[in-house]
């Protein structure tokens, strides 16, 4: 055995040798980025349940995926070219999951759940089972704040077109402003799957940064007098109303925008299981076991889309900037309608609850509570902010449904 030759072969087979090439250098940068994301998830606790999985998926795909003449190596866990073939209308493997299953790595197989829209819908099932829509039912006016806080979605969509993105890409970028990870993933996989990595990372990072992004805007757009407003308690909501709510919303929203069926249908089914009182086992399963399992698969397979050669581009920077703009304008939209409600009700509505209209449940509602209490220590806005907060989930699903109906 030629030891020197064997050592040479081992070296050239290893990923380290590839770092000398331009593509390998890009992989190295993405490995550093993934370590940064792991730091944010583990140490800074930024949406750790998803960000740690996404970061590790990013790490895995970039230590295993080195491009050889345009195709990923056979050991790669994720093969972007398989998904290109999957989306190629004229190709032999158009929409062929079998081709992906036969030739893909483990992350390709897990990614099928993202591509088919299965994981975001299952996450919504769990979210529905965990959400108490009582504050929204008690105060239906808070739905308006959830709609107003979609302003950023449409402004970022417009910004995306101005920056040269196609309609589908701009729509996928805009939905970051909905502050709803599963909705962003669901829409992006249908309209612009090649942008899934940067959009998912931007969406979850900004959701984690809500306590830093929103307070300055809340202070800028409201007066101290407005922030001090103590709101009256909501009326009591009966059990029957809570049971009827998911049925009515599912029927109404899906009839209005059929493309929202997977998200709104699952959200409301989960909520019905929670409220109907005869399916406690199912409610418990979707809230805990199923939610955790899907989170595992979703995080790692979304992270897998951050292949260096595709992720490291000027477009990613534009997406990050547009995502931040979307978040800020969604907050502004909610606050402005909150101020309008303050004026129209003669000062009975605290405009701070408007910023909770950017779904991000319950983080955005907590920020409203904290800022309200800073202005007036006797202020308890949490339950009032939960109304717009859960309304934001419905609002962003409707926005996604509209964009899907237009561009899908």
């Amino acid at each position: 055995m030629d030891i020197i030759q064997t050592l040479k072969d081992l070296w050239f087979d290893s990923g380290f040798a590839n770092f000398a090439s331009i593509d390998g250098l890009k992989n190295l940068i993405m490995i550093v980025v993934s370590c940064g994301l792991l730091y944010l998830g583990i140490v800074k606790k930024f949406e750790p349940l998803l960000l740690v999985g996404i970061a590790f998926g990013c790490l895995l795909v970039n230590v295993s995926n080195f491009f050889l003449d345009g195709a990923s190596s056979s050991e790669a866990l994720y093969h972007p070219e398989l998904w290109d073939a999957f989306l190629d209308h004229d190709g032999e493997f158009y929409h062929s999951y079998g081709h992906v299953m036969a030739n893909g790595g483990i992350l390709d197989i897990l990614y099928i759940g993202v591509k088919s829209g299965l994981y975001p819908s299952l996450i919504f099932l769990g979210v529905g089972a965990m959400t108490d829509f009582g504050p929204l039912i008690a105060n239906p006016k808070s739905l308006l704040l959830g709609a107003a806080a979609q302003l950023g979605v449409f402004l970022a969509f417009f910004g995306g077109i101005c920056l040269g993105f196609t309609g589908e890409e701009a729509a996928s970028i805009g939905i970051i402003g909905g502050a709803d990870g599963p909705t962003a993933i669901f829409l992006t996989t249908r309209l612009a799957p090649h942008l899934l990595g940067p959009i998912a990372i931007a969406a979850y990072s900004y959701m984690a940064l809500i306590p830093m992004i929103q307070p300055p805007l809340m202070k800028l757009l409201t007066t101290k007098k407005e922030r001090e407003v103590k709101m009256e308690q909501n009326r009591q909501v009966s059990k029957t109303e809570k049971i009827i709510f998911p049925i009515v919303v599912a029927m109404f929203v899906i009839l209005l925008l059929p493309s929202t069926a997977p998200l709104v249908g699952c959200l409301m089914l989960g909520n019905l299981w929670r409220e109907c009182g005869v399916t406690e086992r199912l409610s418990d399963t979707v809230q805990n076991a199923l939610m955790n399992i899907v989170t595992v698969f979703l995080g790692i397979s979304v992270g897998a889309t951050t292949v260096a050669s595709r992720f490291l581009s000027f477009e990613t920077l534009k997406i990050v900037a547009l995502g931040l703009t979307a978040f800020c304008f969604s907050t502004i939209g909610g606050l402005l309608v909150g101020k309008l409600m303050y004026v129209l009700t003669g000062g009975k509505v605290n405009p701070l609850i408007g910023s909770a209209g950017v779904s991000a449940v319950p983080m955005a509602a907590r920020v409203s509570q904290i800022e309200g209490q800073k202005a007036n220590p006797k202020n308890f806005l949490l339950m009032h902010a939960m109304g717009p907060n859960v309304a934001g989930v419905i609002g962003s699903a409707i926005a996604a449904g509209f964009l899907l109906a237009v561009f899908g």
């Binding site: 009582g134 239906p140 701009a170 009591q236 493309s259 609002g395 237009v406």
Partner: protein, 129 residues
Amino acid sequence: MMYSYVSSMLGTTLTDLSIGEAAKTAVFGYMVDFGGIVILMIVLFCTGAFFKSRDAKANARKKEEAQKSAPVAAPTAPVAEAKLAPGSAGHVKLNNVSDKDAAMIMAIVADKMQTPLNELHFISIREVK
């Protein structure tokens, strides 16, 4: 269907939007979002009103039945109605407890009982020394 409707409205291929067309789509989308939510809000108001009136009728009937079944004894002093707590309606009576402590206690009780705060009625919270 929506695609063709919006296409015809904007008169363009949607994937290749000009800035003006993008602005139109954005405004239209925001209006659709608002419109859908407003209609949903009206539906919720209607169902809410139905349930409120039904509850009011049920309460009135209960009161009537209670009055009918009550013995015609000597009139007694009216018993003060138990006050409801924040989270549902009315005000909780606090004895030597700050608002902040009371809120924490209510949150802990809700958590321990696995019941949403707005389904609990706190009548009073008293500090026990």
